[in-house]
């Protein structure tokens, strides 16, 4: 993974510290052209990975990318699915079955030719695969080397202790999309333990990592312990703690954890993108044997902790 990953929250009125700023952003990015302009800044500055939700409007951006291949030669997208509010609002309005009818292409109860609803009721993994395929359609023809599940879903499966779903997701993404599965979570230590239980080793986990412990559930101490001692490929998000920290102090903090491979951040102005990118590149450690599970840093026996 690249060190610098450009996110999309700013494009979709997601601001964790201000509804007012969220509104301003939604006005500013009303047109797709405004999003593309900011992506252009990022590319000019040498950022080549865009991590985005499967929001309806991303489909338009993908279309633009496909139509302008010369501009996006090394460009990669890390999709994050699903766009949770789309489903949450639909479940409130239509119920669970109604939501499936709405979002699975065609009539899902015909898609499962054998036995319709009864089949759907029992084969959740088939349903999961259909939903992944539906969400992934918009990215056809675009490099998607890492495919993430969003935190709401990850953390729900985690709390429900339905860990085998992670295993199924993991193998489907690897076999069908030839991509690395990624997990976004607000509960990093618990998630890593759960993934290890079902045999998923050295996973890519994107979680909040910031100096003030904002949205680091269970507390900053256990996060720091896991970042220092456990085997996984961390991607840091919410590093600025919704704006509570300055970019400099926020990113310097990440320097304490050599294992962090990437930082996800979103910004709307060229100056901010440049400043943050430079700070990340300066402070994040290089991983000489990138992506290697048995890297010496990871294999330091003095740091191995036996999980209870």
């Amino acid at each position: 993974m690249d060190k610098v990953i450009f996110g999309d929250n700013q494009f979709f009125a997601i601001n964790h510290a201000s509804e007012e700023k969220a509104r301003e952003q939604s006005i500013r990015f009303k047109e797709d052209a405004a999003i593309i302009k900011v992506l252009d800044y990022a590319i000019e500055l040498g950022i080549n990975t865009f991590m985005c939700t499967t929001h309806d409007r991303i489909a338009n951006i993908c279309e633009y990318i496909r139509c302008n291949p010369s501009k996006f030669i090394n460009f990669k997208i890390y999709p994050c699915m699903p766009y949770a509010h789309k489903y949450a609002n639909a479940v409130t309005e239509l119920g669970i079955i109604g939501t499936i009818k709405q979002y699975v292409p065609g009539n899902p109860f015909n898609t499962f030719a054998k036995g319709g609803l009864a089949y759907l009721n029992s084969d959740f993994i088939a349903l999961m695969k259909l939903l992944i395929d539906a969400e992934m359609k918009m990215f056809h023809g675009i490099k998607t080397p890492v495919i993430f599940i969003q935190n709401v879903l990850v953390d729900m499966i985690l709390g429900l202790k339905m860990f085998t779903i992670f295993k199924e997701y993991d193998s489907y993404i690897r076999s069908n999309y030839h991509a690395e599965p990624g997990y976004i979570t607000m509960n990093m230590p618990a998630l890593l333990d759960a993934l290890n239980i079902v045999g998923i080793e050295n996973p890519i986990i994107c979680s909040s990592i910031n100096k003030i412990g904002f949205r680091m559930s269970g507390g900053i101490e256990i996060y720091e312990k896991y970042l220092q001692e456990k085997c996984f490929r961390p991607m840091a998000m919410q590093v600025l703690a919704a704006g509570a920290l300055s970019p400099k102090e926020a990113i310097e903090y990440l320097n304490k954890f050599p294992k962090i491979e990437s930082v996800l951040f979103g910004a709307s102005s060229k100056v901010h993108i440049q400043e943050t990118k430079e700070l990340i590149e300066k402070n994040l450690h290089d991983l000489p044997l990138k992506n290697e599970f048995m890297h010496p840093i990871y294999n330091d026996s003095s740091k191995i902790v036996i999980r209870s």
């Binding site: 510290a17 959740f124 509960n187 618990a190 509570a244």
Partner: protein, 343 residues
């Protein structure tokens, strides 16, 4: 470990199941739902026992508490059954469809010394707690007006046939979105005792209102406005806010930040004259497990702590839920008195 069970696995029930599942002091032993799909998912992927009849579940599992997250019309019989079997109860909002039912349940819970809580989760958002604290300090002086608002994109098209489109079952924006705002106003500013000028407007729904507008008068004489609309797609998700106007300033509070304007500096609080903005990073309640927002875990933590300490706490009791139900009834009755100017 405290043994618990859940009845109703819609959006909120599943969320509670995950939070209870992750709770270090809770052993979630069983779930109950009538949807074969949901029950099968639990059978297949989880180790909790599954039931389609809540009475059988309670009888066989003998949990210490039950979390009820079914459509509102089922709350009364289910809560009553659980209380009569000696269970502590966490019930989703709104409490009941009629205040007489809520009254009976509140008295029953208290007579049996059982912990009772309603899922008005906004009270577990740090910014709203700070608003209450600032008002208690009388930071903006005598209050002159308030507005309680909530907007979001739930029903944005003319379709949809679930229990939420049936008014008798507690569907509609009044029971759903507006109940949150009423409850916040009631617990933070003061208890409403009168509704006037109420408008329940249908925008896209066929059987129920999509928006609620009106004036609430509180027991302390203060009046303010209620403005709630769940068919507003200019909001990405439900956004709830309370604005309070006082003689010495004004406070605007939502789930992400609290902004206040003071006519004069407040030395006691160390606040300057003019605008101050503070956001949730300062007030978030720490939780061990996060799903969709700290408040959902924090309210469950609170309920479990109350069971552990054998002490009914001050947040979200049945009595408070009952008062919100009474205000909902006031709004409906007031609306019926109005000429139906709108659809």
């Amino acid at each position: 470990m405290i043994k618990g069970a859940i009845i109703g696995l819609g959006k909120m029930g599943i969320s509670h199941a995950a939070i209870l599942g992750a709770h270090p002091d809770v052993d979630l032993v069983a779930i109950c739902d009538t949807s074969p799909m949901v029950v099968n998912a639990f059978k297949k992927f989880s180790s909790v026992k599954t039931y389609s009849d809540y009475k059988i579940m309670i009888e066989k599992e003998i949990p210490e508490f039950v979390c009820i997250a079914t459509p509102t019309r089922f709350h009364y019989p289910m809560v009553k059954y659980a209380l009569n079997n000696g269970l502590h109860v966490f019930c989703e909002k709104p409490f009941c469809l009629s205040p007489s039912e809520g009254e009976e349940l509140f008295k029953l819970a208290n007579s049996k010394w059982l912990i009772n809580q309603i899922g008005y989760h906004n009270h577990f958002i740090g910014t709203f707690r700070e608003l209450k604290r600032l008002l208690n300090c009388e930071i903006i002086g005598d209050l002159v007006h308030f507005s309680g608002e909530a907007y979001g994109p739930v029903v944005t098209k003319e379709k949809g046939n679930s229990w939420r489109s049936v008014p008798e079952e507690g569907g509609g924006c009044l029971y759903d979105y507006a109940s949150h705002v009423i409850n916040l106003v009631q617990e933070i500013i003061g208890r409403p005792i009168k509704a006037s000028g109420t408008q329940l407007k249908r925008i896209y729904s066929k059987g129920v209102e999509d928006a609620v507008y009106g004036i609430l008068t509180l027991e302390n004489g203060l009046s303010g406005i209620l403005s709630v609309n769940w068919s507003d797609e200019t909001y990405r998700k439900m956004t709830t806010s309370i604005t309070v106007y006082g003689k010495k300033g004004k406070i605007i509070c939502d789930a992400t930040e609290i902004k206040f304007f003071l006519k004069e500096a407040c030395k006691k609080e160390g606040l300057e004259k003019g605008w101050t903005y503070r956001d949730i990073t300062e007030f978030a309640i720490p939780v061990n497990f996060y799903l969709r927002g700290e408040e959902y875990s924090a309210q469950i933590d609170h309920f479990i702590d109350c069971i552990k300490n054998k002490k009914q706490a001050s947040y979200n009791s049945f009595e408070q839920g009952l008062h919100t139900d009474k205000v909902i009834k006031m709004l409906i009755e007031d609306y019926k008195l109005q000429k139906p100017w709108t659809k």
